[in-house]
């Protein structure tokens, strides 16, 4: 049976790493996702996802040198490996095939019928 696809947030993190290239570490990944999607990201959720992606073998993390900023603490840089690129491509193809023939549009909220409203004939 084929493997399940990565979740939505995992894909966002993979795409952010891909976009950032050599500058992908916790803060830049979080800011990239927040600025592009408008979605608030917590550090805890981000590192849980990064750890899972690393365990799946999609990304690889490496500790950088300490810098005077950030309270003198080092950054952990992430880069995507081949398995990650393949996974992203697979997820993208699956989504594209599901969207094929559909026109994305904003769903209109269903009008709630009042209990007193008469039924239409």
């Amino acid at each position: 049976m084929p493997r399940a696809f990565s979740g939505g947030f995992e894909q966002l993190v993979l795409l952010a790493i891909l976009r950032l290239g050599d500058e992908a570490y916790g803060t830049t990944i979080r800011e990239e996702i927040e600025s592009r999607t408008g979605r608030a990201v917590t550090v805890g959720a981000l590192y849980t996802t990064l750890e899972r992606l690393e365990r799946k073998g999609y990304i690889r993390g490496q500790l950088g040198d300490p810098t005077p900023q950030r309270g003198g603490r080092a950054k952990r840089y992430y880069r995507m490996v081949r398995a990650g690129s393949l996974e992203l491509e697979r997820a993208h193809q699956a989504q594209a095939s599901m969207w094929d023939g559909l026109v994305p549009r904003r769903a209109e909220p269903a009008r709630r019928r009042s209990r007193l409203e008469p039924e239409e004939a």
Binding site: Y25, G26, A45, L63, Q69, R70
Partner: protein, 468 residues
């Protein structure tokens, strides 16, 4: 450059696995600095605290997973395939083992465990629910600046059994003019208004109040201004101040609404102000319109008592001195007054006493009874745990013989008790919905904002842990 809040930084540090601390804390620090630069130090502290609060659970879950997955003696792992286990991790894993063992013990004897948990849940739940109510109604200050200085004043006629009676207009003017202990005295009365809307008239609750009542309560409109002096006098322009709720619902939260007219009781009133969202009128629920109460001297006679009077005591005056001043002013007025004043005196109490006076004693007695229930529950739980411990003497002896130190054994038993306390205490948080329905009149926001204080839940759970 400001530093992140210390408590939040401490929590962040200890929720993370040691090998993650370097870069995750660095990221949090960098985010804090960025927020401080763009939004200021206070916003940065809020951002940092929110991040830590929302990240602590995922951090601890990640730490537990990593520690759980690694072999027991990672320090001696010759291949060093994962980060070496440090003393903090070792402790974390052993606590996790104890938690797992505690849950297994509970599952092994379901009937006894259920009894333990139900007893604790009942004791803690009732206590937490009632204390939330007591805290909201009795302990928290009213939502006005210096609330202890605000007093309520009544007329009293003991011969007719009228102990706390509304005030007449001449009495209000007499007290306002001949006392020196109050920085402001104001009066109001509740009233219903008819608002002309596009889809027909609507009944709206409100009050008619003197302009001085804003100063008494220490509140001011968030938009616009309070009533001007001429709006407070008979014959002056018609004005209205609306509450935030009314502004949002009826005026579509229009920020330029001040100065526009609205038809109330068939007359056009100018909207001069919008109160802040946090404002609640004392002792009145669902007040949405504040309209000037235009009082005129000598129009109504002494027999008409319909005003509710509030006053703010000067900062340099004690309550007893203010009460004596008021009593003196009332006696002086009575001596020179008309036949209507025979028998009338004055009585005053701080506003918070006036609001909770009738229920205060009942609540305190009820809280005492609930504490006794908690005590009985605690004794029962302690007895059940003693019985359980007696049956485990052999297991503990084996553990000690295998080399477990006293500290280790004590920690294990405490962790097991903690598991019971957490399971038994968790229903307490459910009680908040029930008690938030009870609230002090006119102060809805207080109970809604914090139905159950975190420290109440914490102290209740702490109590259950210490006794088990």
């Amino acid at each position: 450059m400001s530093a992140p809040p210390r408590l939040a930084a401490w929590i962040a540090c200890h929720s993370l696995a040691p090998h993650e601390r370097e870069y995750v804390l660095g990221d949090l620090h960098e985010g804090f600095d960025g927020q401080a630069e763009t939004h200021g130090a206070r916003a940065a502290a809020r951002w940092y605290t929110a991040q830590v609060c929302r990240s602590s659970f995922p951090n601890m879950a990640r730490r537990a997973r990593t520690a759980w997955r690694s072999p027991l003696h990672r320090d001696h792992d010759p291949l060093q395939t994962s980060p070496p286990r440090r003393p903090g991790d070792r402790m974390f894993v052993s606590v996790l083992h104890d938690v797992r063992f505690g849950i297994r013990l509970l599952a092994r004897q379901p009937a006894r465990s259920l009894l333990l948990i139900l007893t604790l849940a009942l004791g803690i739940g009732v206590n937490a629910a009632l204390f939330t109510l007591v805290n909201t109604v009795l302990l928290r200050p009213l939502p006005y600046p210096d609330p202890d200085r605000v007093v309520r004043i009544w007329d009293r006629d003991e011969s007719r059994g009228l102990l706390y009676f509304s005030v007449s207009i001449p009495h209000y003017f007499a007290w306002r003019d001949s006392t020196r202990s109050f920085s402001a005295i104001g009066a109001y009365r509740e009233d219903g208004f008819t608002l002309a809307r596009a889809d027909g008239p609507a009944a709206i609750n409100g009050v008619r109040m003197t302009a001085s009542l804003f100063a008494v309560l220490g509140v001011a409109p968030a938009l616009g201004r309070p009533f001007a002096a001429d709006e407070d006098r008979a014959g002056g322009p018609l004005a209205v101040v609306v509450t935030h709720e009314f502004w949002r619902r009826e005026l579509q939260a229009n920020p330029a609404i001040v100065g526009q007219a609205v038809s109330i009781d068939g007359q056009s009133h100018t909207i001069v102000g919008v109160m802040p969202a946090s404002f609640r009128f004392p002792q009145q629920d669902r007040v949405e319109l504040l309209v000037p109460q235009r009082l005129a001297r000598g129009v109504e006679d002494d027999g008409s008592h319909f005003l509710r009077v509030l006053a703010r005591i000067r900062p340099d005056t004690a309550f007893a001195a203010a009460r004596d001043d008021l009593t003196r002013a009332a006696a002086q007025y009575r001596a020179a007054g008309s036949s209507h004043d025979r028998g009338w005196s004055v009585v005053t109490w701080p506003l918070h006493v006036a609001m909770v006076g009738e229920v205060r004693d009942t609540l305190i007695r009820l809280q005492g009874a609930c504490l006794l229930v908690l005590l009985i529950a605690a004794v029962n739980v302690a007895n059940l745990l003693v019985v359980r411990a007696a049956g485990r003497s052999r297991e503990i002896a084996v553990r000690a013989a295998l080399g477990a130190s006293t500290m280790r054994l004590v920690r294990q038993l405490l962790t097991e008790s903690l598991v019971i306390a957490v399971i038994g205490g968790s229903p307490a948080s459910r009680s908040r919905g029930r008690c938030s329905a009870w609230r002090r009149p006119g102060c809805r926001s207080r109970s809604r904002a914090s139905p159950i204080s975190p420290w109440i839940a914490r102290s209740s759970c702490g109590a259950s842990r210490s006794r088990s």
